[in-house]
């Protein structure tokens, strides 16, 4: 239930408010002295707002910061505000006078996604997420979810839309092909806190890894070594063995990072949408985790159980950090985490991308400057800067951990202690302790019950049968839509036929009848929410279509119906086939 809001004038004369929670405690929503000055202060933390293409505000409050942002931001930059209190929304709309057309306010998750995708060009020019801390406090669970969704949709959206469409096909294919493995593997939850208070090293693949990767041999069995997929070959080339390898990318490019790698005792931590050729390289030395949200992945998760959530964050190193926190590691040491183009290189030696360079002098709008660890300025990309910002937020959320940046290069990461990897090892990697035996034991004792496999298989087979009934209805919709289109053309005499009154009446009657049949069938199909929702990955185009005007001509509406339901038909056939194959694989394993 929302807190009760008490409004009163601040000392500066404008309105402020206090939120009173159910338990009687209360807190100010805005300064009791000068809410407008406070709003300006909040925005000072986001200097990127001035040039941003778009922004999402989490929490409205009385909207002073949103009004200030409107004045600061570019005139063409759209703003989405996520707020669930209708009273605050009403007050804001009554008060705001400048450019209200640039602002959308919602409390619905799908509208966040629609906003980001509809304004994808603006978002790609630069995106800022601004939280109003006091608003977040009124419903921490809701706003935490909002924050998570913005990040998840954003990281999806940062890829080109065309790529996203192809990616979604790969994602779904991988989810089904990996399903047997995911069902039978323990989740990352099996490792929860098993290394409480032990150090961990997160090995990323930035160019500075060249400087200190050789020291990893000293870290073995004195820390949990967690490496991102990109860094794996660089380590194995020097016979350096990580304990955990993290991956979540669905692409063929990700598989190339692992192809031919002489994996031995390492354990893979993977997301179900990981490229399907990767999990089998690790035999059964695997832990699954869940990061990405789609109706399909949520549905399957309900069937096979929670494997443990790990934030994807757009970068596998963020996922690796999440895993380090989940296993209880402290301190957490980063190496190879440049988040910048050190010496113009994108990656370390020994990685698949070791020869990639960037021209740091080029006038490239994707390149920006950031403070380096040594007070200098480094060059990074907008993408990497987004990851840097997210890392800093995560570090602030994990004040109970000592987080050490031992990259020895790259961008400054607030919230870390900067030191050499040599110093980190000497100070914190003092005790030997068994790592792989502990991981093996957790793996052995947390294997899922075989009944889970049966449950998943049965539900897949049931859904295959449901799609068997669903697909003919989609075909019927397309057929009816074509028929209605023909009748409409006749009724409008588009073919220039001689229309007698009897003919016209008959055509209109037929048009009305077929139109009603089509409407009924559309309602029936759309009511089967589960079957429609499970197709969302493959019907991505539907979400990108701009809404039709309510008074759009019938021809336009019919054209839209045919577009949408052709997509649904193709998606339903593909999904049914993939489910059948997955069910067969589960039966055979």
């Amino acid at each position: 239930m929302s807190p009760v809001l008490e409004f009163f004038p601040a000392k500066s004369g404008v309105l402020t408010a206090r939120a009173v929670l159910l338990d009687g405690s209360s807190f100010l929503l805005h300064s009791a002295y000068d809410p407008v000055a406070e709003a300006r202060r909040l925005l000072e933390r986001h200097p990127a707002l001035k040039e941003a293409g778009a922004a999402v505000f989490v929490g409205l409050g009385l909207g002073y910061h949103v009004e200030e942002a409107l004045r600061e931001m570019r005139a063409d930059a759209p703003i989405l505000v996520v707020e669930k209190n209708p009273d605050l929304i009403t007050r804001f709309w009554k008060r705001v006078s400048e450019h209200p057309e640039r602002i959308e306010i919602t409390d619905r998750e799908m509208e966040i996604k629609t906003f980001l995708y509809r304004n994808r060009d603006a978002v790609r020019r630069g995106f800022v997420l601004v939280e109003h801390p006091a608003s977040v406090r009124t419903d921490p669970g809701f706003y935490a979810l909002v924050r998570q969704r913005v990040r998840d949709y954003l990281s999806l959206m940062l890829t080109d839309v065309a790529t996203a469409k192809v990616l979604n096909r790969s994602v779904q294919e991988n989810i089904f092909t990996n399903l047997t493995t995911v069902v039978e593997d323990p989740g990352i939850v099996a490792l929860k806190d098993v290394f409480q208070g032990r150090p961990a090293v997160i090995v990323a693949a930035g160019p500075s890894l060249n400087k200190n990767v050789h020291l990893l041999a000293e870290a073995k069995n004195r820390s949990v070594i967690i490496c991102v997929g990109t860094a794996l070959k660089a380590l194995l080339a020097q016979d350096l063995r990580p304990d955990l390898v993290v991956t979540l990318d669905p692409t063929e490019g990700n598989y190339r990072l692992f192809e031919g790698a002489a994996v031995k005792d390492e354990y893979l931590c993977y997301e179900p949408q990981t490229h399907y050729k990767i999990p089998c390289l690790f035999r059964d030395r695997r832990f699954a985790f869940n990061s990405f949200v789609s109706p399909l992945s949520l549905w399957l998760r309900q069937l096979y159980g929670d494997k443990g959530y790990v934030e994807p964050g757009g970068s596998v190193a963020i996922a690796a950090f999440g895993i380090a926190c989940q296993i209880g590691a402290n301190p957490i040491v980063f190496i190879g985490q440049d988040l910048a183009y050190t010496d113009g290189y994108t990656h370390a030696r020994g990685t698949v991308y070791e020869d990639r360079k960037v021209d740091l002098q080029a006038a490239n709008p994707n390149l920006i400057r950031a403070p380096g660890i040594d007070g200098s300025t480094v060059v990074t990309s907008r993408n990497m800067h987004t990851f840097l910002v997210r890392f800093e937020e995560l570090f602030a959320e994990h004040k109970d951990r000592l987080i050490i940046d031992a990259t020895e290069g790259g961008a400054l990461k607030r919230g870390t202690v900067v030191m050499s990897f040599r110093d980190a090892i000497d100070r914190y990697f003092t005790d030997e302790f068994p790592v792989l035996p502990v991981i093996e034991e957790c793996h052995r004792t947390h294997r899922p019950d075989p009944a889970v496999r049966e449950r998943v298989r049965e539900e897949l087979e049931k859904t295959v049968r449901e799609y068997g009934d669903f697909i003919p209805k989609l075909e019927e919709i397309l057929s009816l839509a074509s028929r209605v289109q023909e009748l409409n053309d006749l009724a409008e005499n588009k073919k220039g036929q001689e229309a007698t009154p009897g003919f016209a009446r008959g055509t209109l009657r037929a048009l009305k009848k077929k139109g009603e049949e089509l409407n009924e069938l559309l309602k029936e199909v759309n009511a089967q929410a589960k079957l429609v929702d499970l197709l969302s990955l493959l019907t991505f185009d539907v979400q990108l279509m701009p809404p039709l005007a309510e008074d759009a001509p019938l021809a336009e509406q019919l054209s839209r119906v045919k577009q949408v339901y052709s997509l649904y038909l193709e998606a339903a056939k593909t999904t049914r086939r993939q489910m059948e194959e997955a069910a067969t694989a589960l039966r055979g394993s």
């Binding site: 000392k11 405690s25 807190f27 933390r45 919230g415």
Partner: protein, 130 residues
């Protein structure tokens, strides 16, 4: 006489500390208003430690009878009126209220002390000639 000399030194130290206290109070408020609560509470810790040190000096002067009817004495009273608001904001975990108290009450009180008359005469007590 010796105790007067010592008191003078304490007053000098306290006067030198006032600008720092004001700056840290303002910085803490800024962090909290920006929503940077992690940094804000870290700065607050520094502020509280500095205030404890400051209060130690004031206590010494008070015990030795050097604070009555002086500007430092009035500052002490004002600060003691602000502390309960800081505590209440902390107990309620109300970062907005805390920022208000730090910026508009604590920092303001210290700024007023600094700007009041010969604020930086070494004694701040008005009873020692320079």
């Amino acid at each position: 006489m010796q105790s007067s000399e010592h008191a003078k030194k304490v007053v000098q130290c306290l006067n030198e500390l006032v600008p720092t206290l004001q700056e840290v109070a303002e910085n803490t408020a800024v962090f909290l208003q920006e929503g940077n609560l992690a940094h804000g509470y870290r700065e607050l810790q520094s502020l509280i430690e500095a205030l404890q040190h400051f209060e130690g000096g004031l206590s010494f002067l008070h015990t030795a009878g050097f604070l009555r009817d002086t500007r430092l004495g009035h500052l002490k009273e004002k600060l003691h009126q602000v502390y309960p608001s800081i505590l209440a904001a902390l107990q309620e975990q109300d970062s907005v209220r805390l920022a208000d108290v730090l910026q508009y009450e604590l920092a303001q009180t210290l700024a007023t002390y600094r700007s009041g008359g010969d604020a930086l005469d070494e004694s701040g007590l008005g009873i020692f000639s320079s």
